[in-house]
């Protein structure tokens, strides 16, 4: 089986400071990979490099495109990369405000990606929007409300619907449950887990919440100071951490 995403020796520097360096891994179709680490460990920098928001200083990020197979997304032209990011890729931001258009209705938010790939039939776009709002548990009578009238959890679910409507194959998530209270978090995680399985999505989830990766991720990568210090199956890394920092991280989780 060919990997969906092949990351090879990616590095990003901010002047003399290391953003992230020496990162290599393969991601296979249907696989969910978690990246954990403390604030400033370079996990968001890495995610933005992979998603094309930042240009890495070194390395290659190869994606298995539908048309031409493996392509390096760093060297491909900007129109191609932007096309990828609105069709085969999705990006779920930590703050729903960054990923939504707050002055456009929920239906318009979901429909935008469809219209960006030349959907020009209002009725069809609306049906699809209603379908997707239903899948993320937003009732269809809220379709014409703006995200500003939604709660934090609903905004986050709307963002997910907006991203998944074009049937992407790879989803980047940056702290998708950050800032939500635990019961809302639990429902969101449940929803994400269902969607990932149902659509056979590959995902890269950046978070500092170990419970989130335990639930969602098949594989785990632990980062510190821009370096990957430990990788492995999620349960293996969390139950039998090898690196001193991972041991500290795992033992720092508050027990209720």
């Amino acid at each position: 089986m060919t990997p969906l995403l092949q990351v090879e020796d990616v590095a990003k520097f901010y002047g003399h400071r290391i953003g992230c360096t020496d990162v290599s891994f393969d991601l296979y179709p249907g696989e969910v990979m978690g990246i954990v680490g403390e604030s400033g460990s370079g996990k968001s920098t890495l995610l933005n490099c992979l998603a094309g928001h930042l240009t890495p200083d070194r390395g290659a990020v190869r994606f298995d495109t539908r048309a031409d197979g493996m392509r390096d997304t760093i060297t491909m032209s900007e129109p191609e990369r932007r096309m990828l990011s609105r069709t085969d890729w999705a990006f779920v931001h930590q703050h729903a405000r960054d990923g939504l258009r707050m002055n456009v209705s929920a239906g318009g938010n979901v429909g935008e990606r469809l219209m960006a790939v030349n959907a020009r039939h209002y009725g069809d776009i609306r049906d699809k929007a209603i379908d997707w709002l239903g899948r993320v548990e937003i009732t269809s009578d809220r379709i014409d409300d703006r995200p500003t009238q939604f709660s934090g959890g609903m905004q986050q679910r709307l963002q997910i619907a907006r991203n998944l409507v074009t049937g992407p194959r790879l989803v980047f998530m940056d702290e998708p449950t950050g800032g939500l209270d635990v019961s809302v978090q639990a429902r969101l995680l449940d929803l994400l887990r269902g969607l990932v399985r149902e659509m056979n999505l590959s995902a890269i989830i950046v978070t500092h919440d170990l419970a989130v990766v335990r639930l969602l991720a098949d594989r785990l990568m632990v980062m510190k100071d821009g370096h990957v210090i430990e990788t492995g199956l999620t349960d293996q890394v969390l139950d039998d951490p090898q690196h001193a920092y991972t041991q500290l991280l795992v033992s720092s989780v508050l027990q209720v």
Binding site: R82, R101, G107, G111, E112, R120, H121, Y122, D144
Partner: protein, 289 residues
């Protein structure tokens, strides 16, 4: 007249503007940046249109200015007098006789010929402005032809009003490439954007010039199931009886009395001279006396 250079602007500035116009004509619908000058009128009063007119006027031209279709409103009269004074060109109110027509928010009812130039005053040249506030981003969207967002606006219209409620500044796609703001003309005028004359658009405050060459394809954006419709008040002109012209609605008393009349004053007067009389109109000669 001798106190001013011909048409107010100095020759170097006019050359700079002409270069922008030529580039605009070469890339229909593309917004060309230009070094907009201070004009002796406030921004928003047509400084872009005036600069474009100044750059294309020659001493042999006949100049006409309309404001919302009318030749006799403050803005139209002052701009017409401005060029009468600084360029000494002939002026007219007749669409037929004019070689350069500066317009604010209307296209004349009468079809233009290929020896006529229509100059628009544009307040906001960027059709994506209110959807995407970043100019860096909107330029990139134009460059990469990413126009999905434009349809989001139309989608919002239909979801809120049941129909595309955008009635003016209705976005168009020019020659299958650039999405363009046709300036705040009513969408009734959109089909007329495909015409024989040259159309030049000047935005003074925003420092942009763009153009539509003669006989260029201009398509109003829409949805398959909500097609574009050029709408007007469902009425005939009360002065000249025209049923095919764009109408202004005028409240005439405080008892609900109203009348509809052509917004294009020259067109209306021309029809009345030919003897057409509307429901509330009087024959042309009586009115003049």
């Amino acid at each position: 007249m001798t106190d001013y250079n011909f048409a107010y602007l100095d020759e170097q500035t006019k050359r700079m503007i002409r270069r922008a116009i030529l580039k605009g004509l070469a890339i229909p619908g593309y917004q060309v940046p230009f070094a907009s000058r201070e004009m002796p009128m406030p921004y928003g009063w047509g400084t872009g249109g005036v600069q474009v007119s100044a750059a294309v006027l020659t001493p042999d031209d006949t100049f006409k200015v309309i404001d919302q279709g009318a030749d006799d409103t403050t803005n139209a009269v002052s701009i017409r007098r401005f060029f009468q004074k600084t360029a000494g060109v002939k002026v007219t109110e007749a669409t037929e006789e004019a070689s350069v027509i500066q317009t604010r928010h209307r296209i004349p009812e009468q079809d233009l010929r290929d020896d006529q130039i229509l100059v628009y005053q544009v307040p906001i040249p960027e059709p994506l402005r209110f959807l995407e506030p970043s100019e860096v981003e909107t330029r990139k969207m134009h460059a990469l032809e990413e126009y999905g967002l434009m349809h989001v606006k139309l989608y919002e219209d239909i979801s809120q009003h049941g129909a595309i409620a955008t009635a003016y500044a209705y976005p168009v796609k020019v020659e299958g490439r650039y999405v363009m703001d046709p300036s705040p003309i009513p969408k009734f005028d959109n089909p007329k954007l495909e015409m024989a004359g040259i159309q030049l658009f000047g935005a003074g405050r925003e420092q942009r010039i763009y153009a539509i060459p003669p006989y260029t394809q201009v398509v109003s954006l829409d949805f398959d199931d909500y097609p574009f419709e050029a709408s007007k008040a469902d009425h005939a002109c009360d002065l000249c009886g025209a049923e095919d012209s764009y109408l202004d609605e005028l409240i005439v008393d405080d008892e609900g009395g109203r009348m509809f009349m052509c917004s294009d004053t020259d067109y209306c007067a021309g029809r009345r001279k030919q003897g057409h009389v509307g429901a509330q109109g009087v024959p042309y000669a009586e009115d003049a006396a």
